[in-house]
């Protein structure tokens, strides 16, 4: 007992440096293990974050990425102003918001509906088969998905136009017409994500207390009513968590698919912030301007995430941080 006390005191009396030395001696092997991945995260994640300083400078190809040789090209908020004063800023911001919002409205409820639907299948093997099939599109690459869209909606011999021709309608070049871009984009996203995103809700449904259904059955409830009065309310916390995450990603709509799908003819609705950043920065070499706009986009994302989280905390006691 006495010994323990002295030991505790000596622990408390250790200087910060002494404590560090003790920790290093104890954990050096863990530090060896973690060194490589930490180096990776620093070089490829944190160094680029520091590289965002070019958003406030005038970075030219071959110039210094970090102002180590003196800061002589400081621009302050020049690029942000330039972007907001350009005629394209409103267009890309509006397109990003509309595309994301449409995407969210269509693709968010779908996996919940699918999970509820699959949950009602009583035959275990049929259920397994249907679920497996529904996950498949998630594993098909964007390039293939857009390739399939191009094949099916092509103006020459595409399936849809063949059917239109049979019915006596003129062929439509769906991929070159602005009004079809969003429906095609959102529709294919629905196909890609609905099944796989249902997994999380299926897991939540599996966790619902079965005695609730038994009690409802005795009370004469129907399966249809159970879906709305038992299953859906039980998975509400999961739905809210997923909604917060989805809102946090609102402005981060995937540029890969847009980049593959759009053509100059559809820019007016298809050009979003991230594709604009790609063309301005990588294609046209205006790195500072592009980095500034990207930074603005990230800031909005984080703000949206925090706001959605706070709101949900207040309204429903569910939050992710």
């Amino acid at each position: 007992m006495k010994m323990k006390k002295t030991k505790e005191r000596s622990k408390a009396q250790l200087t910060p440096l002494g404590r560090l030395a003790r920790n290093l001696k104890r954990d050096w092997q863990l530090l060896v293990l973690i060194a490589f991945p930490v180096a990776y995260f620093i070089i490829f994640k944190y160094v680029p974050m520091a590289g965002l300083n070019i958003a406030f400078r005038n970075y030219k190809v071959g110039g210094q990425l970090f102002p180590v040789r003196g800061l002589n090209d400081w621009q302050g908020f020049r690029w942000f102003k330039e972007f907001f004063e350009s005629p394209f800023s409103w267009r890309v911001i509006r397109n990003t918001l509309i595309l994301s919002a449409e995407q969210l409205l269509v693709t968010f409820p779908a996996p919940i509906i699918l999970a509820l639907l699959f949950n009602e299948i009583r035959h275990v093997r049929v259920k397994g088969f249907v679920q497996t099939v529904s996950y498949l599109p998630h594993f098909i690459s964007v390039a293939v998905v857009v390739g399939i869209i191009y094949n099916i909606f092509s103006v020459n011999a595409g399936l849809v136009n063949e059917i239109r021709a049979r019915m006596g309608y003129e062929a439509i070049d769906f991929l070159q017409k602005a009004q079809y871009f969003r429906p095609l984009y959102v529709g294919s996203s629905l196909w890609q994500t609905a099944g796989f995103s249902s997994i999380i809700y299926a897991a939540a449904i599996a966790g619902v207390d079965q005695s609730l259904y038994e009690a409802a059955y005795i009370d004469g409830s129907t399966r249809f009513k159970n879906v709305f009065y038992i299953t859906l309310p039980s998975i509400a916390p999961t739905i809210i968590t997923m909604l917060i995450l989805a809102i946090g990603r609102l402005m981060a709509v995937g540029y890969e698919k847009v980049l593959l799908m759009y053509t100059p003819a559809t820019y007016e609705v298809a050009d979003i912030i991230s594709t604009w950043v790609y063309r301005t920065g990588i294609t046209n070499g205006k790195f500072s301007l592009a980095a500034a706009v990207d930074l603005f986009n990230s800031m909005i994302n984080i703000t949206l995430l925090v706001m959605a989280n706070q709101l949900s905390k207040k309204l429903t006691d569910t939050s992710i941080f």
């Binding site: 293990l33 590289g51 249907v130 390039a143 293939v144 191009y150 897991a203 990588i282 980095a291």
Partner: protein, 294 residues
Amino acid sequence: MHMRKTAGDVAFDVILVLLVTFVVLVTLYPVIYVASMAISDPREALLGNVIFLPRGFSLEALKTVVRNSQLWRYYGNTLWYTGVGTTLNVLTTVLMAYPLARKKFFLGKFFVLFVLFTMFFNAGIIPNYLVVVRLGLYNSRWALILPTLATAWYVIICRSFFLSLPDELFECAEMEGASEFTILGKIVMPLSKPVIAVLTIYYGTTHWNSFFPALLYLSDKNKFPLQIYLRQVVIQASPEALEGIDTEAFGQQMLSLMQVKYAVVIVAILPVILFYPLLQKYFVKGVLVGAVKG
């Protein structure tokens, strides 16, 4: 519990069957249609007679694609990126996750935040691109591997799995005087097959399907992955991409060229479709492991 079947229950079942059948059909339709187009008789395909199942049968389009040496080069490149990339991904992820799962590690909490932060804040395309270029990786195969060695989300998934292993396992090993290297290599890894499988599948499909980094960092055609080729042939319909395809070999080249687009898609997704039934049980596991602690 005895169930009585009321008229309402029967109606419910009928609607259920209809809806589920609809979902399955909609999901599979595009894939089946593309496959049907690829193997139908070229005339039927061009006349637009193929709506769902193949009409007539011809392997000419697939043969044309398969005979193209350029395609095999891209296929080989994708295999290399997927193989090397996934191996290094899993290695890096495990090396990061293991120390974070050791409760005694004095920097554990700090490094968890260090990893999590990258999940919520990303520098964006431009700074990432400039850093990769500055490191001399432009037009290098490693540009498709090194910048995406580990993803925060998968590190967290892997850590959650390690944390779920019993504490006694680590305590016993320490008492026996085992080093951390031994604990990780000899005790933890053999028990971690499920999470390794999950990581392999997720990183593997990401590499197989990735096209944007190649677009960003590669200029040498000989290093292109399959997805870039797919984009050129199917989406951009670039005639240049079809070079090396022996169109003289058969008379109806126009017909076949149209079908080639469908055949290329089939060749690109075939490995995914073939491996899919074998691997599908791990997909669900991956999502759920992540959801518990995430």
